[in-house]
């Protein structure tokens, strides 16, 4: 269990914002093909909480029923994947990248490894660069973020 007070997050454009006023549990990544396609990525990174602890403080997510027993929440204005929940469960998971501070949780499990992509194991070994190394200074000056800030 992670001690959590006033945890906030939301989508990229800021149309949907949430607050979690309780414990986070089971931080994990899931490689299943459903999560890959829903997140457009190698895997989903998710952390759970009780449904009653998750409050939508601005806007509401749209939902896609990705299977008979699962709904996935997202922002219909910018697409950010936000939540994953089984219908019958009292828990709901939020996407770790949508947290205003995604460093507050550390994934502890990998699920869905039947679909894990071979390249995954080596991603962290790839040569790394910082944004300012890759984008010329004059372009950086023009790059005005339109992303919602990482706070309410």
């Amino acid at each position: 269990m992670t001690e959590t007070k006033s945890i906030t997050g939301g989508c990229q454009c800021g149309a949907v914002r949430y607050a979690i006023d309780g414990d986070l549990h089971n931080p994990h990544i899931c490689h299943c093909r459903m999560c890959q396609k829903a997140f457009g990525n190698y895997f989903a990174a998710l952390v759970g909480t009780l449904r009653e602890n998750l409050h939508w403080t601005k806007g509401h997510p749209a939902f896609f029923r990705s299977s008979e027993i699962v709904q996935r929440g997202f922002c219909k204005d910018c697409g950010t994947p936000l939540t994953f929940a089984y219908d019958h469960s009292k828990h709901i998971a939020v996407s770790i990248g949508s947290l205003d501070d995604p460093s507050i949780v550390t994934p502890e499990q990998q699920y869905g490894i039947e679909s894990r992509l071979p390249a995954f194991a080596h991603l962290h070994e790839l040569k790394g660069s910082r944004t300012e190394d890759d984008i010329p200074a004059e372009m950086m000056a023009k790059l005005k973020s339109r992303q919602h800030p990482d706070r309410d």
């Binding site: 990229q12 990544i29 459903m34 396609k37 829903a38 997140f39 457009g40 990525n41 190698y42 895997f43 989903a44 990174a45 896609f64 990705s66 299977s67 008979e68 027993i69 699962v70 996935r72 929440g73 204005d77 910018c78 697409g79 950010t80 994947p81 996407s95 770790i96 990248g97 949508s98 995604p102 460093s103 550390t106 994934p107 502890e108 499990q109 990998q110 699920y111 490894i113 039947e114 894990r116 992509l117 390249a119 995954f120 194991a121 080596h122 991603l123 962290h124 790839l126 040569k127 790394g128 660069s129 910082r130 944004t131 372009m139 023009k142 790059l143 005005k144 973020s145 339109r146 990482d150």
Partner: protein, 162 residues
């Protein structure tokens, strides 16, 4: 659905719900992951996994993505019906950066070559491949598995969907 015969070097992909489908005719460009805070929030994850595709090689075969201007110089495409992040494109760039997980066969790209945006890299990223791991069938009954996979668009083109 735009019906064009697949060439030898063609790839298809799309969003989770199948409202948006695309095809790529020709070779793919560089592939890598980006840890920048913009990609983290757009993808709700550690960051993004992207592969370059010339705009001239990309066809939207079904539907049209929604777009969000995430900065003064970048548009990001997504499915407005299910949220799947699909691409980012810098203004004036002849290439799209396609979200690798949206390819019907995300293995069918060349070698991943780089990590970018490392100023925002989450500390837990490097340890992910060492975490304990389970297959879905290890923790789901066969009945649950059947109900879990039923509504996602299949990893190939369809004449009609759903």
């Amino acid at each position: 659905m735009v019906k064009i015969p697949l060439r030898a070097e063609s790839r298809t992909g799309g969003c989770q719900c199948g409202a948006i489908r695309y095809r790529i005719d020709g070779p793919l460009g560089r592939a890598g992951i980006c840890h920048c805070r913009m990609c983290q929030k757009a993808f709700g994850s550690f960051g993004a996994a992207l592969v370059s595709v010339p705009a001239t090689a990309l066809t939207w075969a079904r539907g049209t993505p929604g777009t969000f201007r995430s900065s003064s110089i970048v548009s990001r495409g997504f499915c407005a019906a299910c949220g799947t992040p699909l691409f980012m494109q810098e203004d004036g760039d002849p290439d799209y950066e396609i979200a690798i997980g949206t390819l019907d066969d995300p293995n069918a790209i060349g070698a991943m070559t780089e990590q970018s945006g490392c100023e925002s890299k989450v500390a837990w990223f490097d340890g992910l491949s060492s975490l304990p791991s389970q297959a879905t069938a290890d923790y789901r009954s066969p009945e649950d598995l059947e109900r879990l996979k039923s509504l996602q668009h299949p990893d190939h083109d369809t004449d009609h969907w759903p």
